[in-house]
């Protein structure tokens, strides 16, 4: 019996039991698609977090103040202290102290109501220096960013994010003015669109010179301190050198040691690590659920195949009586089981890929297609189908033809 004939026999056997074949393939389909989508969901989340942190800027270090301890011994949260100052930022910007730091952007920020001629909008108001632009890997699409001169002189100019701009103005925002906390600012530039990140909508912001922020916006508690300092290392290879230079310079300035510093420095890599480890836990959890669903689906497939083969022991006996060797019988059932597994698995992959495309629109979560999960799920379901189909068939093929024929 040649392979073509075996294939033909298998196909006609599958077609003659449409319901059962359909259910078997459905079990495999659901198993494969479920594994693909759940693992894809976890991985998509992981990648999204990583790319969001990437979008913060490359070779980034973030210096944040340590926690404050009040006079009665109550220790505040990290970042609550006011130990970082503009002087610290200037220290870090000094190329003699820190040759591997290429850009520095001190940040003061608060949520403020911004008023234009026609409407008002609450946004994240950030006081910073021109270093902000390279550090955050952003650009200005129209107009310009404020200069170092404006930054230190307390000029009343502002650069606006696209979301804020569209909330406040109908046309181009450049040249218009807004009022914040009683001070009128002239919009001199508009930022490029960066999208949303874990830190919120990066386009909903208004940037003003840091000295202006300190003079006109900052609360009394904030005065003189900055909420964080963004540093950019001159390159990937100098990141750790930049980290150490910053640590040393600030320790010296604050009179602290690395063990008891009143500030902390986080690298982008450590941010990525923290964030992705969370979503990796999610992926493992989802993958575990998917594996269980594949297993349950596999047991269903096994059940159907087992019943199907048991029902056909008489057929096996007859085929043997007509001259089929056990090997031919085995090949037929192997082909049948593989075909069912392959068709069901392929359909599962198709459903998985389509699902990975459609799902983000429904649940607004990115779903990536993982080749490892896809191939793994496909192989496992194929294996389950083949074992479940071939094992009982091999037992039946070894029976004396008459024993198989007598089987009811």
């Amino acid at each position: 019996m040649n392979p073509l004939e075996t294939l033909r026999t298998s196909i006609s056997a599958i077609l003659s039991r449409k319901m059962r074949s359909g259910l078997t393939m459905l079990g495999i389909l659901i198993g494969v698609a479920a594994v693909m989508l759940t693992v894809g969901l976890g991985q998509g989340a992981q990648q999204a977090v990583a790319s969001e942190i990437d979008s913060l800027g490359s070779n980034l270090l973030v210096v944040t103040p340590g926690s404050s301890t009040s006079s009665n011994g109550v220790r505040g949260g990290f970042g609550s202290a006011t130990t970082l100052t503009l002087a610290d930022a200037n220290l870090l910007a000094d190329q003699n102290n820190c040759p591997d730091i290429s850009a520095v952007a001190p940040i003061m920020s608060s949520s403020q109501s911004v008023t234009s001629a026609t409407s008002n909008w609450t946004t994240s108001l950030i006081g910073t220096t021109p270093g902000w632009l390279p550090v955050r890997a952003r650009t200005v699409t129209s107009g310009r960013f404020f200069t170092s001169q404006e930054s230190s002189d307390g000029a009343t100019v502002a650069v606006i994010g696209t979301t804020t701009a569209s909330e406040l103005f109908t046309g181009s925002p450049v040249g218009q003015s807004v009022t914040v906390n009683g001070t009128t600012f002239t919009i001199i530039g508009e930022l490029n669109t960066a999208g949303s990140s874990i830190a919120g909508n990066q386009d909903d912001t208004l940037l003003i010179p840091i000295s202006t922020f300190a003079e006109r916006i900052a609360s009394s508690a904030q005065v003189g301190s900055v909420s964080s300092i963004y540093l950019e290392a001159s390159g990937q290879s100098t990141l750790s050198a930049a980290y150490q230079e910053a640590q040393q310079a600030l320790d010296t300035a604050h009179g602290t040691t690395a063990d008891a510093a009143d500030f902390s420095i986080a690298s982008q890599a450590s941010l990525v690590q923290t964030a992705t480890s969370t979503s990796r836990t999610l992926t493992v959890l989802l993958g575990g659920i998917a594996a269980i669903s594949l297993l349950v689906g596999g047991i269903g497939v096994m059940n159907i195949m087992l019943v199907s083969v048991t029902e056909r022991i008489r057929e096996i006996g007859l085929r043997k009586a007509l001259g089929a060797t056990p090997a031919v019988i085995m090949r037929q059932f192997l082909t049948e089981a593989s075909l069912l597994g392959l068709i069901g698995g392929t359909l599962g992959v198709i459903v998985g890929v389509i699902g990975a495309r459609l799902l983000p629109g429904v649940i607004s979560q990115p779903v990536s297609v993982s080749p490892v999960a896809t191939v793994g799920a496909l192989l496992v379901s194929l294996l389950i189908g083949i074992i479940a189909g071939v094992y009982p068939a091999s037992r039946a093929a070894r029976l004396a033809p008459i024993d198989a024929l007598r089987m009811e």
């Binding site: 019996m1 040649n2 004939e5 003659s16 085929r319 009586a321 007509l322 001259g323 008459i402 024929l405």
Partner: protein, 253 residues
Amino acid sequence: MLTQGGDSRVIEGLDREPIVDLDEIRKTYSAGSVAVEALRGVSLRVDVGEYLAITGPSGSGKSTLMHIIGCLDVPTSGTYLLSGQDVSTMTERELAHVRNRRIGFVFQQFNLLASLTALRNVELPLVYAGVPAADRARRALEALDAVGLGDRVDHRPGQLSGGQQQRVSVARALVNDPDLILADEPTGNLDSVATRDVLALFDELHASGHTIVLITHEHDVAARSGRQVSVRDGLLVLGEGIGNLTLSTGVRG
């Protein structure tokens, strides 16, 4: 050598080996702790061109005997020479080959595959013989024509009457041109008209030189054969209805 019936080839003295030569065949089934002896030492020869009927009440062991003759089952002890070849030395592969090329089966239950057309059912032995597709269809059509079902080739078993289904299974038994046709109660599930048709078919096959061994418990069916032997309690007894059956050739031991 004395023979019974009208086998011209044997009468002409051609010294041919018998197709079937059973010697002291025993078959024991173990049903749980109880061993059941279905055959208790059967010796039987079937010559080329013979039409032999094996009769006996149900449970006598006649079906077991046929299954052993047809290589569907193996004896517990005794030797079985099929055209001179010892079946007990054959591998599973060789046995499959024997069932495929040298023996054609007709079952009481027809045993047609319900999902296949009459033509595909008849083609099955040719498929396992490795006959090319075009050849296969031609030979299967010829066999179906021979049993008078040339116009029913595309019907599935469910669309055919019992008699027609049995004729399909006769066509399937014939298609590989076997040395021996074995029929196990071929008329057991048929009405009298269909029975007459199928028996007429066997008469034709016998007349054209085929060797037929038929199992039945109906006397009028057995009467159509050239020779009868009877099985009682796992042993062969003298043929019924034919007085001049010669013990030394037909039944030994």
